[in-house]
Symmetry: C2
Subunit: 520 residues, 2 copies
């Protein structure tokens, strides 16, 4: 119980001969997967992994990434999945901080390894988990599995730590979130019922596997005994091909990814007809995109998950029926749904007092999924984890039906002329302009207001968009003090975090370089 290897053992017993993993030609049954995991675990132990030791991985998605998670848990160690979008310096920081002595890399990241190891020299063994020639000085993943006999499961559970998940992409300072077996177990259970756990089917790992968004549904897939299919990195063409070829039923596709699929010249709804449930996060689904999706796939269950690593990650869900009926429900579609069972949510003012419904404050969340704290950061832990409650840093309000509307990161709030402006509200107003493809609103330095509301707009192709056209569009839609004071245009996509959130920190940076930023 509360043990993360249990679902693997359960499904290996219940359906030993059904397919567990599909990585192109390389396919394994559940009993094969359990066998490989327990051999790899033995190999890890032989390389020095004792109870509680950290083992890192830096790789694109693959069946071996899944095996890594379960083998580390089986061995008694802690996973440290590194962010494929981070710089060598950032990942070196995570390696040093976690004290991982073993690192698994695929070919794509083996090239970065020299740069990482310049700054992180604690890694004693590097395991090459890709096909083809093994680079000098690295161990061969498959040889390791072949070379060892299965070992007994360490059966860590409950409050025993299962992993350290580095976060901080949007706020700058990397923090290692400690999650216990129980925390991830709870998330797997609550998510597996959301993904319709007893249907069989196949889950496509389309989102990066180092991230807990995929982790949560990967765990749910395991609890459900569905087949895992892997897309090394997102590509709309390959995603469509895989869904078609392997009759994929479940996946995570954020709105941006859906946009790329629907506008792809090869898009054909017939190819995707096996899809049963599609989860997304990071931001609400634009209504235009949703209605298009439901027109193509009227029976598709579209579920929004909102959460954060510190909660392991799930906090709220907006479920499939809420999406279908979203238009009838007075704007529920703009919400993140309601707290999932077992998660408590409060909306608090800066002193931690509960606010009334409709008032904007910070989301506090508590559940068995919450982190044990930040690794090596007792002070940050104390500031964030209070009596079991995680201060999320997200600003939100709750409506009379218990639906949570995220307005902004508390840190992304713009303080202009003494008034609080939530960039999400300004973004919503601008996004309804017919020529706007995407928009991000930030606060920039202003002698007059402290911060001024600034909009960065990506126009639709061939649109001829002007600052004035934006100004006149938002006039009357939002209060005067929330109006954008300036607009800049760009063509390239916004920088995104691993979770698919716009990295506002990067957008703000050029404006604040020589200033003391009011925001972190």
């Amino acid at each position: 119980m509360y043990n993360l290897t249990q679902p693997l053992k359960t499904v290996a017993m219940a359906k030993p001969n059904k397919l567990a993993t599909i990585m192109g030609e390389r396919q394994h049954t559940w009993s094969e997967m359990q066998d490989r995991v327990s051999r790899l675990a033995k190999g890890l132990r032989d390389l020095g992994v004792n109870q509680g030791d950290r083992v890192a991985m830096l790789s694109l998605n693959s069946d071996r990434y899944l095996e890594y998670y379960y083998a580390v848990w089986w061995s008694g160690g802690l996973v440290v999945p590194l962010n494929t979008r981070w710089s060598a310096t950032e990942n070196a920081y995570a390696l040093n901080d976690s004290g991982a002595k073993i690192l698994l890399v695929d070919r794509a990241f083996s090239l970065q390894l020299d740069d990482i190891q310049k700054e992180a020299n604690g890694v004693k063994s590097v395991i090459f988990c890709d096909d083809g020639e093994v680079p000098a000085g690295m161990l061969d993943y498959e040889a390791l599995i072949r070379g060892y006999q299965p070992c007994d499961d360490a059966e860590r559970s409950g409050d025993d730590l299962a992993g350290i998940y580095y976060t901080g992409g949007t706020t700058g300072f990397p923090k290692g979130v400690m999650l216990s077996h129980q925390a991830i177990w709870y998330n797997n259970v609550v998510n597996s019922v959301n993904v319709n756990y007893n249907r069989g089917g196949a889950y496509l790992h389309a989102a990066p596997m180092f991230h807990l968004a995929d982790g949560a549904y990967s765990g749910a897939t395991m609890s459900s005994g569905m087949t895992h299919v892997f897309l090394p990195t997102f590509d709309p063409q390959r995603a469509m091909d895989m869904v078609e070829q392997y009759s994929v039923t479940h996946t995570i596709l954020v709105p941006t990814m859906w946009g790329m699929v629907l506008s792809h010249p090869q898009f054909d709804p017939e190819k995707l007809k096996s899809l049963h449930t599609c989860i997304y996060g990071a931001s609400p689904m634009p209504e235009g995109l949703l209605s298009q999706l439901l027109e193509y796939f009227p029976n598709l269950n579209i579920i929004q998950g909102y959460g954060q690593t510190e909660m392991g990650p799930v906090i709220t869900n907006l479920n499939a029926e809420d999406h279908r009926e979203g238009f009838k429900q007075g704007g529920k579609l703009r919400s993140a749904g309601v707290a999932v069972p077992g998660v408590e949510v409060r909306i608090c003012d800066e002193n931690g007092h509960d606010l009334a419904n409709g008032e904007v404050g910070e989301i506090y969340a508590r559940s068995p999924g919450a982190m044990s704290g930040y690794w090596n950061l007792p002070k940050q832990t104390e500031q964030t984890l209070i009596n079991g409650w995680v201060k999320t840093g997200d600003g939100a309000y709750r409506d009379e039906d218990g639906f949570i509307f995220i307005v902004d990161r508390v840190k992304d709030m713009i303080v202009s002329g003494g008034e609080n402006v939530f960039s999400a509200e300004v973004e919503n107003a601008i996004s309804t302009h017919p020529d706007v493809e995407a928009v991000a609103v930030i606060g920039i330095p202003s002698d007059k207001w402290g911060e001024a509301v600034h909009a960065i707009v990506i126009p639709k192709r061939d649109a001829n968009l002007t600052e004035d056209s934006i100004f006149s569009h938002t006039k009357g839609k939002i209060a005067n003090y929330k109006q954008p004071r300036s607009v800049s245009f760009r063509e390239e996509a916004f920088p995104l975090s691993g979770a698919g959130k716009v990295l506002k920190r990067e957008l703000r940076e050029p404006y604040w370089q020589d200033k003391t930023s009011a925001v972190n």
Copy 2:
């Protein structure tokens, strides 16, 4: 966390002014309910309830039954819900065994009280939780609530016991199942996702509230903040009226109850159109009934739950899509579905060794929902709860897709001529006879075979059914040694347990009176 009063506090904060309970004219909002619960808790403490003390209730369904559960938990006590179908002797046993000093009764059961108290004299205070004149010597429920101020929640949690649930209806000897806050909490969470937790709506308590089948979905309703509607005791006409009047979306109706609804002269599918999800248990849904139901209500989600009190109670679910597609799936409809997330299921031989798929053995189950043990029965606990695993006493096999098929209570298995006969299999064969309304198969004494397969059949109204017609119907459908050797006919319904299971013990009794029964 892992605390049963938390969902009440959460929903009272999130939706204070929405309706929590509807008992005809008597209706309370969530903030009113929390207020009443905390006042009643104070009253209970004043009557002597300390941490861990037991408080019993014997009543038909009502809003006050719900308040009782939460007030006892709020006070720090343990609930002891008594079985409304038990005799005075059986309930006196439960009172004596649990040591409850406080008992709540409604008018229907206040009449039984003298008989109960003849055998159970430990009860110091009786609270009358019904309307009208309060019988002499009893305390008035509403006066108690009016007379006290709200108190602080005891906030018991985790392994702290929450209640003692007496079971044993089908096997004879009453045993008090100890369930912790965590055990019930887990069941609430896993069931709340099954009932589509964030839809709003209303749950009709149509099944008896002393039973954990209702308890599980009542807890789910609480976690979801749906409105509770109460039917004191099942009646098809009143059930239909309530669904219509209060737009009930969720309820528990076992197949027998559905049969009564559909064959009722006032039945009109229009009246029930608000129903969204309907849970049932106790036995598989007959295919004829299911196809009728889906014809009337094509969008109704029909979910089967299988479990037992010792598991708090849920073990497996057969979900809505499995019901819709049941006919296509090669008989999955006859199964109890798959283990719900977080529940581990094994099928074991008599020595506790795992059996292969397809082989019939006893279901062992383990989850955070499992009991802490039997109250005052260390030996029975030791025999039933082994290393966290509950031996369910249910015989079953698992198919290649992980679906569990219950064949019988291990104790109900018929041993005839050295062969094991599962009565469920014989019942299935007989039930397809067009003139059979219901059937129960038992073993009766036989000098030749030890036990002989005997069928008790309720014929359809106006049918002219003979023993020979049954014999020729089952011939070829099941092996020779499984064929019924004799048939008796009856008109009245079978005796049912609180969970809606046919009480085979009672059916067997007349045949075994003068014999030493091979079965208990």
